[in-house]
Symmetry: D2
Subunit: 395 residues, 4 copies
Amino acid sequence: MDKVGVWLIGARGSVATTATAGAAAIKAGLAPPQGCVTESPHFPATLVPLAGLVFGGHDITETPLRKRAEQLGRAGVVPPHLPDLIAADLDAADAEIRPGHVPSHVPSHVSGDVPGDVPGDRDQAAAAARLGDDIAAFRTRHRLARVVVVNVSSTEPPAADRPEFARLADLEERLAAGDDVLPPSSLYAYAAFQAGCGYVEFTPSTGPTLPALAELAALRQVPYAGRDGKTGETLVKSALAPMFASRALRVRSWSGLNLLGGGDGATLADPAARSSKQLSKDQVVAGVFDEPVEGQTHIDFVADLGEWKTAWDHVTFEGFLGVRMALQFTWQGCDSALAAPLVLDLARLVARAHEKGRHGPLPELGYFFKNPLGGGEHALAAQYARLRAFAEELS
Amino acid sequence: MDKVGVWLIGARGSVATTATAGAAAIKAGLAPPQGCVTESPHFPATLVPLAGLVFGGHDITETPLRKRAEQLGRAGVVPPHLPDLIAADLDAADAEIRPGHVPSHVPSHVSGDVPGDVPGDRDQAAAAARLGDDIAAFRTRHRLARVVVVNVSSTEPPAADRPEFARLADLEERLAAGDDVLPPSSLYAYAAFQAGCGYVEFTPSTGPTLPALAELAALRQVPYAGRDGKTGETLVKSALAPMFASRALRVRSWSGLNLLGGGDGATLADPAARSSKQLSKDQVVAGVFDEPVEGQTHIDFVADLGEWKTAWDHVTFEGFLGVRMALQFTWQGCDSALAAPLVLDLARLVARAHEKGRHGPLPELGYFFKNPLGGGEHALAAQYARLRAFAEELS
Amino acid sequence: MDKVGVWLIGARGSVATTATAGAAAIKAGLAPPQGCVTESPHFPATLVPLAGLVFGGHDITETPLRKRAEQLGRAGVVPPHLPDLIAADLDAADAEIRPGHVPSHVPSHVSGDVPGDVPGDRDQAAAAARLGDDIAAFRTRHRLARVVVVNVSSTEPPAADRPEFARLADLEERLAAGDDVLPPSSLYAYAAFQAGCGYVEFTPSTGPTLPALAELAALRQVPYAGRDGKTGETLVKSALAPMFASRALRVRSWSGLNLLGGGDGATLADPAARSSKQLSKDQVVAGVFDEPVEGQTHIDFVADLGEWKTAWDHVTFEGFLGVRMALQFTWQGCDSALAAPLVLDLARLVARAHEKGRHGPLPELGYFFKNPLGGGEHALAAQYARLRAFAEELS
Amino acid sequence: MDKVGVWLIGARGSVATTATAGAAAIKAGLAPPQGCVTESPHFPATLVPLAGLVFGGHDITETPLRKRAEQLGRAGVVPPHLPDLIAADLDAADAEIRPGHVPSHVPSHVSGDVPGDVPGDRDQAAAAARLGDDIAAFRTRHRLARVVVVNVSSTEPPAADRPEFARLADLEERLAAGDDVLPPSSLYAYAAFQAGCGYVEFTPSTGPTLPALAELAALRQVPYAGRDGKTGETLVKSALAPMFASRALRVRSWSGLNLLGGGDGATLADPAARSSKQLSKDQVVAGVFDEPVEGQTHIDFVADLGEWKTAWDHVTFEGFLGVRMALQFTWQGCDSALAAPLVLDLARLVARAHEKGRHGPLPELGYFFKNPLGGGEHALAAQYARLRAFAEELS
C-alpha cells in the first residue's frame, strides 16, 4: 500500500510531537492504538496503516523533536521512557521539519524562541511558494502517493474580512502585488492546495475557510476538513446536548469555565485568540437546540496545570410541568493526548478521500470538529454514524 | 380517535400522581408537554393524543390523589397552584383507583398507611382474577379501545427462581393449588395479560420477565416493555459511555453514588430492593464496553432530599499512549418529574403497538429503560433512532 | 431593653425583604433563628432581641413589601405561606420606607420601575439632608435608642478617586457648591453619619470608605462596618484557605466561576459593577497566603437561576516533594437567605457597639465581610474567635 | 541537638517510604519542606531538625526501600529521579528494617509477598520481647536520645473487646500463658511502651487505645498520640463543618464516596477493615454538630487510581427560614504524600513531649487525627491553635 505523508504546521508543538511519537510507538508495538478512532474494528482496513505514515512539517522554533518528546515525557503526556525507545523515528521526523513562515504579529510568548537565522520570506507570495516547495520536496523524497497538511499550530485571532477573500483571482492579484493579506493559517492552506495536498484545519483559525481558497481547492481537486478538533469539553457537550433534546428536556442555560495550562493556554490568554476558540465552542449548543440557550464559556490560562486541562460545565434544564433540574460535569484531560490520535485518523481519512477523488470540504468528518466545515449536525452519535458510513463508502 | 386507558400499579405514588396531574395540565393548556418524547415533531401524529388518555389503577394506600398532588406541589414536583386547577381530573382518576393486592412481605414503611379495610384477596389466584376484573371493568366503563398497565410501584427485591416460572401450565397449576408463588409485580403482569392488556414494567422488579408470562403474552397477543425507566444518572451514562467507545478511549473505572430522598429512596434503603436497582444500573456500562470496567454504584437514602435526587459519577479512562484522564458529573433531578412523561409516552406507544398487532416484548422501546427487555443496545442515540423508526413503522 | 432601628438602603430588595420578613417570622415563633450567628448560645444575651428590631429604609422602587415577599415565596426564598401570616409586620415596615435618592447613572434595568413621582432631590447636598431627616424622623417616631443604617442595595462600579474625598471640609465645600461628587452608597453613609447613626456597608460599593467620611464618623462618634457580606463562595474560601496554609500545602491556583440569577446577577452583568465584586472576592486568597496565587474569579449572570447562585471553585496545590493535588467545590446557595440573617446580626452588634461608645470602623466584625474595613485577618475561624471576644467585651 | 529515631511499623509501605525519602530529600536540599506543619515559621525552633531524624522499622515484606521508592517514583508520588539521588539514605534506612510480626489472620493480599524465612515468633509474648529488642538495639546503635514508634501499616478490622484489655496485670498474665490476645497494632504499641518509646497510631487500628496499654504508658512514662491521620477528605470536613456551625446553618445530611487505589484501597476492600476507617471518618461531623446529621461515607477500592484518591462529599444544609442549600466538593489527593510529612511532624513533637516529661495520650496533637485520643475538639482551626500553643509550651 502507498505511504502517506503527514505534514504538520506547528510540527514541534505538543500535539504534533505527541502524534509523531505515538505513531512510532504503535508501529514499534510499544503501545496499543488507543484513542485512534479509525483503528477500531468498525472501520474498514482500506485506510493506510499507521506504519505507512511519514512525518514532516513546518515550525518556527528549532527545539529538536526528541527534546520536545522528553519534555512531554516529564509532563506525563507520553511515557517517560518512550522518547529513548523511538529516538530514530523522532530524529527522522525532525530532519523533515522546515522553518515556518514568521508572521509579523505573532505574540512574543509564542515566537520567543525563534532563532535569528530563520530564513525570512520576502512576502506572503514568496512564502507560499517556498512552503509549497518544502511540501512537494518531502513528497518526492519519500515517494509518497499523497501528503495531508494538518494545522496544529497556535490559535490565531479571528481574521477581519477583506474583499479579496471572495475570489481567488483577486486574492492572487493582491499577493502578486506583495501585499500580506492572508492570516497565517490561510497562507498554509493556500500553499497546501497549490502543492496539491489535502488540508486539515485542527485549530479554530481561519485556514481554508475563505471563499477564494474553496475556489482553489476545487481547482486543484483537493479535499479539506475542519475546524477545531473536538477533544474535551466540547466533545462531552456534543454527547450530552442530544440527550436533552431527544428527551424533550428544555435546556435553559449552559455555562462553562475552561482552565488550561501549557502553550495552548498561554496563547488563549490573549483575548483575541481566545475569542476564536469561544466562538467555536459555542457552536454545539446552538447547533443542537432550536431555542436560544443562556450562558457563556470562559477560558482561563492557569500555568500550574501544565499540559492538562480542567473544564467545568453547568447546565440547567426544565422538565415536566416546568420543574428545574441541573447537571454539572468536570472534565480533566490532556489535550495533546486527546488530539494526537485524531490527527492520525484525519490524515488517513483525508488521504483516502483524496485518492478516491473527493475534493472540497468533507462534512462527513464533522465528528472530529467543534465547527464542522461543509455543514452537518453537531450531535456526536449522528456524526459518528456518518463517519462510519463515509469510511465504508471510501473502501 | 379511540381513547386509551392508562392503568397504574401504584396509582397514588409520586410518579403516578405526577403523570396523572401532568396529563390533565397539558390537556387544559396549563403546561407545555415538556419531557414527553413522543410530543416532539419527530414523532408521527398517529399516537393517541394526551387528551385521549384515561387514568385509573391499583394502590394499597387510600390517600386521595388530590391530596397527593398537593403534597407534590409543596415539594416542588408540580406547580403549587396546579392541583386546584385540575381538581376535577384528579378526582375522576381517584374514583378509578381500586385496592391493590397486599403481599404479605411488603416492608412496613411502605404498607404503613394501608388501612384495615382493604379487601384481602384469598390467594394469588383470587387476586389475579379480582385485579383483572378491575381493569376490564374500567375498560368497559370508559369504552376504551385498549388499556395499558404500567407498574410504577415500589421496587421489589430480586425474586428467587422457581421451577414453575418456566412454563405457564406449571405456574397456573401452582396458583390453582392456592400457592402464592409470584412476586407482586409478576402478579400484576399476569392479571394484565389475562385481561388482554399491554404492560410496562417501569421498575426494576421482576414483572413480566418470567418465561411463563412470556408464554401468556404470546397466547393473549399482548405486547409488553421494560424494565426500569431510565430517568437520571443512567440516562447520562448511556449518553456518555458511547462517546468514550467511539473515540476508542478505554474506560477503566466507573463509580457512582446516588443520594435519593422520598419514597423511592426509603424503599431502596432496604438492601434487597437496592440490589435490584444496582443490578439494573450496571447494565449500561457493561453493555457498551467490550472489556470489563471496574467500579460500583452505591444508592443511599437521604431523607432530607425529599423528592429530589443527586448522583455523582466518576469515570477514569485511558487515552493515547496510556495517558489517564477523568470525567465526573453530578446530576440533580426530580425522579417523578423525569419519569412521569415517559409513562405517558410508553402508554401511547404500547397501545399503538397493541393496536397494530404487535405482541411479546418490544425491544424498540429500549430507549426508555435501563435494562431493555427483548435485548438491543444501550447506547442512547442508537436507541433513539430505533424508537423513531418504530414510531414511523407503527403509523 | 431599648428598641433598635434597622434602616435598609434598598429596603424593597430581596435581602432587605427577606431580613424584614424573617425577623417577623422569628418574632412570631414561625421559624427558628437559623442562620443568625448572634442567636447561638455562644453569644451573650445583652444584644437587643430580634423582636426589638424596627424596620424602615430607603428605596427607589415602590413595589409593596408584601408583594415582594410573595414574589420571594414563589421563588423559594421564604416559605410560600409566610407573607400572609406576617402581613401586618410587612405593611408596618412598608409604611416606613421613603423614596431613595435616584442617581443619574443608575442602569435602566434597575431603575426601570422607578415611578415618575419619586421626589427628585435638587442635588446631593439636598439629598443628604432629606435622607438624614427621613432617618431621624423614623428614630423619633419609634422612640428608638439607636438606628443602624445597612446598605443592601445594588452593587456600584468602583468610584474614581477625587481630591475632595481626602478631607471632610473639602468634601462639604463641593457639596455646598451643588456638585454631585459622591457615589450613591457614600451619600447614604454621609447622611447616616450626619444623622448620628451607625452604618453597615453590606455591598462591595464605596460606602463609608472615603477618608472624608472616616473623619465624619469620628466627629459624630458613630461606628461602621463592612464591606461586602461574605455569604457564599467567599465564605467557603475563607474556611478552606487557612486549612491549606496551616498544613503547609502550597496553593498554586484558585479559579472560580459564579453563576448568579436574580437582581444581583443582573446588576453584576454590568462589567463595571462586576469589577467591584471581583476585587472584593479576591481579597481572601491574597490575604491568607504569603505567596501569589494564580487564577481568576468570574461572575456570570444566568437569569434562569432566579434567586439562586451556583459557584464552582477549582484549587491546585502542591504538597510533599512537589506532588500536585486538586480540590474543587460547588456551592449552591440562595444569597438573600444567606445575607438576611447577617443583616440582623450586624444591626444588633453595631447598635450595641454604638451604645458602648465605639466609633469608627469595627474590624472585629470582619467575620461577616469579604473585605473587612479596619483590617484584620481573612481566616474564618480566627475571625469568629475575634467576633465572640468582641461580643463578650460589649456585654 | 540529640538525634531522634523514627521507628516505622510498615517501614516498607508507601507512607513510610515517602517519609523516609522525603526527609532525605529535604536534608539534601533537594526539596522544600512543603507539607511539614512544624517547619512553618509559626513553630519554635526547639524541635529536632529534620536532618536529625534517623529511620528504621518493622515490616513483613522484604522489597528493598530503594525499589519501593522507584515504584513510587513511577507512580508520581515522589519525583522519578529522586531515589537515585538519595540512594545512600534509603539503603541506610533499609538496613535498619527488621522483620515484622506475622499475625495469623493477615489477609493474603497483604502478606502475599512475605518470604518463607521471616523468623516466626513463638507467640505474642515472644514477639513483644523480640520487637522491643529490635527497637532498643536501634536506639543504642545510633546513640539516640529517644525513639518514636509510628504505626503506618495496613488498617486492621475493629478488635472485639476482651476482659483482659481492662488491666495490665490481666493482659500480661494472658500473654505469659502463651495466648495471642492482642490485635497486631496493640502488640506493637505494647512493645514500644515496654522499650520506653513514644508511640503514634497513624491508622484507625486499635493500637494503644486499650486501658491496659494506657496503664503501661503511665508506668513507663511514655507519651502517645493518635488515631488515624487526617490527610484528605476528613481534613476538608474538619475545616468546613465549623464554618456551618459558626454561621448557624444547620447541616442536614453529609454523604461521601471515597475512591482509593493502591495498597490502602486494597486493604479497605475488606469490609472489616473498611468499617474501622468509616467509624473514624464519621467522628468529625458527629463531633462538630449538636444535632444528628444524616448520611454515610462509602469507601471503594478502585485499582486504576494507583496511589491516588478521589473523594466526593455532598452536604445539604438549612438556612434562614428553612431554605435548603447544598455544598459538594471533590478532593483529589495522594495519600502517601499527604501523610508522610505529618509522620515527620508527629515524630518530632512526640519526641519533644517525651523529653519534656509528658506521658499518656497527647490530645494537643488532635490536629493531625480523625479521631483524637485524649479527647478534644474536631474543628480544624481550633485544633491548630491548640497545637501551636502546645509547641510553644514545649519550647
